[in-house]
Amino acid sequence: MSRLEARGVGLRYGRREALGAVDAVVAPGSILGIIGPNGSGKSSLLRVLSGIRRPDAGQVLVDGRPLAGLADRERGRTIAFVPQETHPAFPIRVREMVLLGRAPHVGPFGWEGPADLRAAHEAMRRTETLDLAERPLDQLSGGERQRVVLARALAQEAPILLLDEPTAFLDLRHAVVLLDLVRDLAREGRSVGLVVHDLNLASMYCDRLLLLSRGAVVAEGTPDEVLTWVRLCSVYGTELYVAPNDVTGKTVVLPLSKEHLERLHRGPRA
């Protein structure tokens, strides 16, 4: 189990500031959801947390030690990071893709040994992708593909799992299947950080949420604490319907169309 912590991290792309002095904690056994409008710095924060981007200010700590001090391979054994999209340059089979998760465990001239094969097998079992092992990756559906990418991350056997919008291209059923699995993985003690676009999925699955706007933290806490009507309307710059729902008791967030808004502002008519 490992705890990942960002302390006052800042990040610039040229002159544009993507993040300014952001604090974040990804704790063992829980899911941190990073939410916010487009361009608010969600993916940037995840990149900094994963160590693939060095912050220009502040630092990232793993169990209190600076992440920057880890060698690349050691970082790969500690943090499994999955970017939003994976487009292999060459045709690749599912089992080869999953075995790549063993990259930080295998030496430069090495091939996978029995331990690596077992880890990949276990990762594919968990994600129910064993039947896909020999299929070319580019022939899979979006849902299968995301499960395979998750299997690759699991094969890394890293205590920290960071996923950038894992449900971006999935329909509702596949999104729920994937996030159910991610939640199980967190319950087993992994520290999970997610960038989530869908606030309802974020509300349902995340233990804590971090709301970003223009590269700064607007709110941090449990979903019910963070997802308030006034805050969301102001951060997202649009009128929303925000209320707990009857089934889960969790907050649901509903965007309102222009037509509905006009009707709302005109008030009920006789």
């Binding site: 994963s50 054994r77 970017p83 340059a89 060459f90 089992r95 998760g101 990259a103 996978e112 077992r118």
Partner: protein, 341 residues
């Protein structure tokens, strides 16, 4: 529990065995073929003054050895560049790295009054510097574009090749004919036997470059998923990139002084290897080393025996490679040219 995921270790050994066998067959055929057909085994054991023995040992064997070394170098470099740049059209020639190396090598050999032994040190050094400079430029272009758009890269290559060809032709026109002899054949590429030290040099750069690339093959597999995915898998992307460009520059620097700008070897061979060995670079790189050697030995044998006069080998590789390149362009369509992702 029986793992459903077999290891590829056995397959890698099969690649080496199959590659070595294929090369041996091609080399034997090449030793036999030429203006005079000879039986290589009989000629080898013939007395030293036997004409067949003289042809075999004095002419064909050195030429074939050189073709094998150059082909292996270009094949390995092509495989690595295609993986690194995630582009099936990349190879040292197309990217202008061969052109940059040839340009520098020509400048050094013509501008400096070099004796034979000085040339052996300076010309490959200049070729290495040229290859490295072009590779650095390719790298810079790739890096500034964010995601390397293959079109930009290929255009950089076109420019460098044109520059190199122009420079070579220019030097050929103005230089002392005794020093510039044979220089024009560098433009299209021809295997040029320059003596054992040059072959030894090409062999050492091949060994060093191949070792670097074989050691990077695992990381190249991760890089084929994209830079961020690779970084997330604990690959030091920048370090791997530098290592691969260094290896490519070494390989090209050994090949160019004895062959000029031979095209299409590094382009075609990795595709052929991938078509039967899959995309794992731990198989593609060794496959491209053996396959590149066999391919260029075969092409050079055609070049020297097809017509009464000898053709530069680059003519043969271009005649095979040109249509293949067009086929790739058509098949990969926009995705190979990459702008639309």
């Amino acid at each position: 529990m029986s793992p459903a995921v077999p290891s590829g270790r056995g397959v890698a050994w099969r690649i080496h065995l199959a590659g070595a066998a294929a090369l041996a067959v091609v080399v034997l055929a090449a030793l036999a073929t030429g203006p005079v057909r000879i039986d290589p085994v009989a000629a080898w054991f013939a007395p030293a003054d036997d004409p067949a023995h003289v042809i075999l040992v004095g002419a064909r064997a050195p030429r074939i050895l050189l073709a094998a070394l150059v082909g292996a170098s270009l094949g390995a470099a092509g495989a690595a560049l295609q993986a690194l740049l995630r582009n099936p059209l990349a190879c040292p020639h197309v990217l202008g790295i061969s052109g940059g190396a040839a340009l520098f090598a020509i400048l050094a050999s013509v501008a400096l009054p070099l004796g034979a032994s000085a040339a052996l040190a300076v010309v490959p050094g200049a070729a290495f510097a040229g290859a490295l400079a072009t590779a650095a430029l390719v790298h810079a272009v790739a890096a500034t574009a964010g995601a390397p758009t293959p079109t930009t890269l290929l255009l950089t290559g076109v420019v460098f090749n044109a520059l190199a060809a122009a420079m070579i032709t220019f030097v050929d026109a103005i230089a002392d004919p005794s020093r510039a002899r044979g220089i024009l054949s560098w433009v299209i590429g021809a295997i040029t036997v320059r003596g054992l030290p040059w072959a030894a040099l090409a062999a050492s750069t091949l060994a060093a470059g191949a070792l670097l690339l074989l050691g990077s093959a695992r990381d190249l597999n991760a890089l084929a998923l994209g830079e961020e995915s690779a970084a997330g898998l604990g690959v030091g992307v920048e370090r791997v990139r530098r290592r691969v460009y260094l290896a490519v520059a070494l390989l090209v620097a050994g090949a160019v002084p004895v062959s000029g700008m031979v095209g299409f070897v590094g382009l075609i061979v990795p595709h052929l290897v991938r078509s039967f060995a899959g995309g794992d670079q731990r198989r593609v790189v060794p496959g491209a080393i053996w396959g590149g050697a066999a391919f260029l030995v075969a092409a050079d044998t055609l070049a020297r025996s097809l017509l009464p006069t000898e053709l530069p080998v680059g003519v043969v590789t271009a005649l095979c490679g040109g249509p293949f390149f067009l086929h790739l362009l058509r098949r990969e369509g926009r995705s190979a040219l990459g702008d639309a992702g």
